[in-house]
């Protein structure tokens, strides 16, 4: 994905009708100067949605900041994304006091997709981080229990099906499209 496209994806909200979101956004940006990048962090047009672009090695600090300062306990999920040169991990949380959903995301380079896991801070991420490792090949370093998660046991090691460049070398996605009913003697 090119630079221009990733900019147009972010729809900034107007200041009016989003006062609460902007107040929280400004406070976080002031408190976490240096950990959170200005580019990629914004208040979304959809009501009650904030996005923060976090430096990969600062993710743990930022999560701890939210847990202590803003009483963040509801961990929603983690979604991976393939941006071309980079792979992205999006951590979704919900702040129940302010009633605002926040997304913390880290970009990791494709040739070395590693960042430190936050499963020990929030146990709810244990299996979604496993899933991210399996489907995208992004490795949360320090994960307490790396193990097989969704894919079948005989899946090869270096194939990550959710990456955009996964070429389907064994024709799996065509297989189920072409099969017809089997005759009894074929079993």
């Amino acid at each position: 994905m090119t630079e221009t496209e990733s900019v147009t994806e972010h729809h900034m909200a107007p200041e009016e009708e989003h006062e609460e979101e902007y107040a929280l956004f400004r406070q976080v940006m002031a408190d976490l100067e240096g950990d959170v990048l200005i580019e990629g962090s914004y208040v979304h047009k959809q009501p009650r949605r904030l996005f923060f672009q976090v430096l990969p090695d600062k993710l743990r600090d930022v999560v701890q900041y939210f847990m202590t300062t803003h009483d963040m306990w509801q961990a929603s999920t983690l979604s991976g994304r393939d941006l071309g040169d980079d792979l992205q991990a999006n951590y979704h949380f919900f702040l129940n006091d302010q009633k605002i959903a926040i997304t913390l995301r880290v970009n990791v380079p494709r040739n070395k997709p590693e960042y430190s896991s936050i499963t020990d801070l929030m146990p709810a991420f244990e299996f979604v981080e496993n899933e991210l490792r399996e489907l995208f090949g992004v490795i949360p370093v320090g994960h307490p229990k790396p193990r097989r998660c969704e894919l079948p046991e005989n899946w090869p090691k270096n194939e990550y099906p959710m990456r955009k460049d996964w070429a389907d070398p064994r024709g799996l996605m065509q297989r189920s499209k072409t099969t017809g009913p089997k005759k009894p003697e074929e079993y």
């Binding site: 496209e5 147009t8 994806e9 972010h10 729809h11 979304h44 047009k45 959809q46 009650r48 949605r49 996005f51 306990w73 509801q74 961990a75 929603s76 999920t77 979604s79 991976g80 994304r81 393939d82 999006n90 979704h92 919900f94 129940n96 009633k99 959903a101 997304t103 929030m122 146990p123 709810a124 244990e126 299996f127 979604v128 496993n130 899933e131 307490p144 229990k145 193990r147 097989r148 998660c149 969704e150 894919l151 099906p161 959710m162 996605m173």
Partner: protein, 406 residues
Amino acid sequence: MTESDEPRIVIPPRVTIPIGPQHPALKEPGMFKLTVEGERIIDAEVNIGYNHRSIEKIAEGRTFLQVLYLAERICGICSATHNGTLAQAVEAAAEVEIPERAKFIRTLTWELERIHSHILWLGVAFHEVGFDTAFMYSWRDREVVMDLLETLSGNRVNYAMNTIGGVRRDVTDSLKETLLKGLDKLEERMKYYRDVAIYEKTFWNRVDGVGVLPNKIAKSHGAVGPTGRGSNVPTDVRFNDPTQAYVHLRDSGEFEMVLSDREDVAGRAIVRVVETIEAVRMCRWLLHNLPDGPIRERVRPRIQPNEVLARYEAPRGEVIHYLVTNGSDKPERWKVRAPTHANWVSMAYTLRGGYLADAPIILAAIDPCFSCTDRVVLVDAEDETIQLKPLDVLRAESNKWYESRT
């Protein structure tokens, strides 16, 4: 000194019992490894992934309208949930405001689905505690709401009510009468089941004090839906982050979040039963206040680049759809988080320390939906209060102890 002077500690052997992938107590394939000492469960491990159908990958090759029907088939019980939440996400990405009447009808389908799902759960719960009469009764009355859904949408399970930009079928005046009549019947029956659940000892004695999930643990383990609300955790997207007609429902002030501070399976059951009655009232409110107007808005098939996070309170808890669009008619990335996924961790906590005989009802208490989840949870057995030692370590230690005595 004889040996009998010293206190003897008998530790029953640890046995691991695998349950699944096929088991009468499970309606769907999943594997549970329960480690027990005598009758006590000390460790629970959940192994899913039998249902992984790679829906997120297929979706990247299909158009939004096609994905809408794929989303419906993530789960048959909450089909309107995923269908409507995706439609909502795409509309938010396209920045389209759908007509008010469409919002009301969409919410109506959601609430009717909540009624059917909760009655289904109630029946399963009655069955798990061995109260099969009430199981049959509640499933008979579930047919009432299934008929309402069938008259409303044309199908019993996969309703396909939502489309991008509105809904596909209108509510006529005669249909409204039918729905209101059916809702009256349902409310009467649900009040009966509420009394059955609370005053009937066959049910109550099996759920009272079973599977305790303290409020603090429910928060830290991220319990959602009736599981969380049964432990007094105020998580309900309908009131915390309302969309569609829930904004009007919340503003009307007639409805409020159902919470229970009992923290056990009984609390979760009460939350569900009372919520069903609330859902009946919500449906009636929606039908009485149904605005006039068109039911759908035209939306261009190509959606501008955007990223949205759509949330909705499914019968089982919070559903999240994270959708990234790239200007084409196909999604760039679509991620679904189903509520059961968030409840596994807290469920494993409630299993620990309970009796093996209570495991089915504790499992059923979160209303697990494997097809929504199709993921794996691994929960560790490190229980801080009990010092656990594997048998071989124990044997080695006892050998050492005997050696030191001789």
